[in-house]
């Protein structure tokens, strides 16, 4: 049977639904029996969904600089 370590290595492909049929079955079987790995996959999914929000918003100054540049090109 797949070890937890191996499952963690395959979890990225599981999230992208990019596994062979046999690998998917092996992972599903492992997940059925292992609550730690179920939690890992669930939380990894949550983490990946959160990554697009990890950057701070731009400051007013940064936004104005870009918008001024756009306006000056529109007026050319």
């Amino acid at each position: 049977m797949l070890s937890c370590r191996e499952l963690v290595n395959h979890a990225d492909r599981l999230l992208e639904d990019d596994l062979s049929f046999s690998a998917r079955i092996a992972i599903k079987f492992h997940l059925l029996l292992c609550r730690h790995c179920r939690r890992y996959v669930k939380q990894l999914r949550r983490l990946v969904a959160a990554i697009p929000f990890m950057h701070n918003k731009a400051t007013d100054e940064e936004v104005h600089k870009i918008m001024d540049c756009i306006h000056s090109h529109r007026n050319l």
Binding site: S3, C4, R5, E6, V8, N9, D12, R13, H36, C37, R39, Y40, Q43, L44, R46, L47, V48, A49, A50, I51, P52, F53, M54, H55, N56, K57, A58, E62, V63, K65, I66, M67, C69, I70, H71, H73
Partner: protein
């Protein structure tokens, strides 16, 4: 994005476009730094915003807006690199002095079972998982210390949603290497958030 908002954006509403700049500018900078370097990233992203504004009418809304903007920024960065005949800063070879180990390697027994299993995370919403004040500071430090090649793939794939095909084209890296680098970056982040959720500290 709601249909009404998308329609307004497509018609060139400057207020909504400024909101877009506010939400995505920093991510686009982070995306282009590994390709053109920090000194040129700002100029590249400014040009990308100009192109995006000119093309916003044709944004179909099939992909996330971040992915659409990310593709424009990457193309702009590649063009600038070609024009200035610069070498790509990205390298898919790990630097021996940098941490290239899987962030969770120490969490397993020799037989590959969990020795220190993941904690239960209390934060549910994707918007707030990584933005708690203390965690955000630790995350910034972790990203700054992360090997450039891992950070680059994380920004492209997870922060901007680019496909592996686009990533491989932009960086001349093989898909298998890109996947290994992404896995290493994600496990480092997982370890950080897991520790924070378990102890309230990082």
């Amino acid at each position: 994005m709601e249909t009404d908002k998308l329609e307004q954006l497509r018609s060139g509403d400057p207020v909504l476009f400024a909101e877009l700049v506010r939400d995505h500018h920093r991510a686009l900078i982070a995306l282009t730094v590994p390709i053109v370097g920090i000194s040129e990233a700002e100029e590249v992203v400014q040009n990308a915003w100009l192109k995006a504004y000119q093309a916003i009418g044709s944004f179909a809304g099939k992909s996330a807006i971040r992915t659409w903007l990310g593709s424009i920024a990457i193309n702009e960065a590649k063009m600038q690199r070609r024009q200035r005949k610069r070498e790509l800063l990205f390298s898919d070879h790990g630097d021996e002095n940098q941490n290239t180990e899987d962030g969770l390697a120490q969490r397993f027994t020799e037989r590959g079972h969990w020795q220190h299993p993941p904690a239960h995370w209390h934060t549910d919403s994707p918007e707030s998982l990584l933005t708690g004040e203390q965690l955000a500071e630790c995350l910034e430090r972790l990203l700054a210390a992360m090997p450039d090649n891992q950070r680059c793939i994380l920004e492209m794939r997870d922060a901007s949603g680019l496909s592996f095909e686009e990533i491989c084209n932009a960086l001349t890296v093989s898909a298998s290497n890109a996947r290994v680098l992404l896995h290493r970056a994600r496990t480092q982040l997982f370890k950080l958030v897991d520790h924070y959720e378990e102890t309230g500290e990082c």
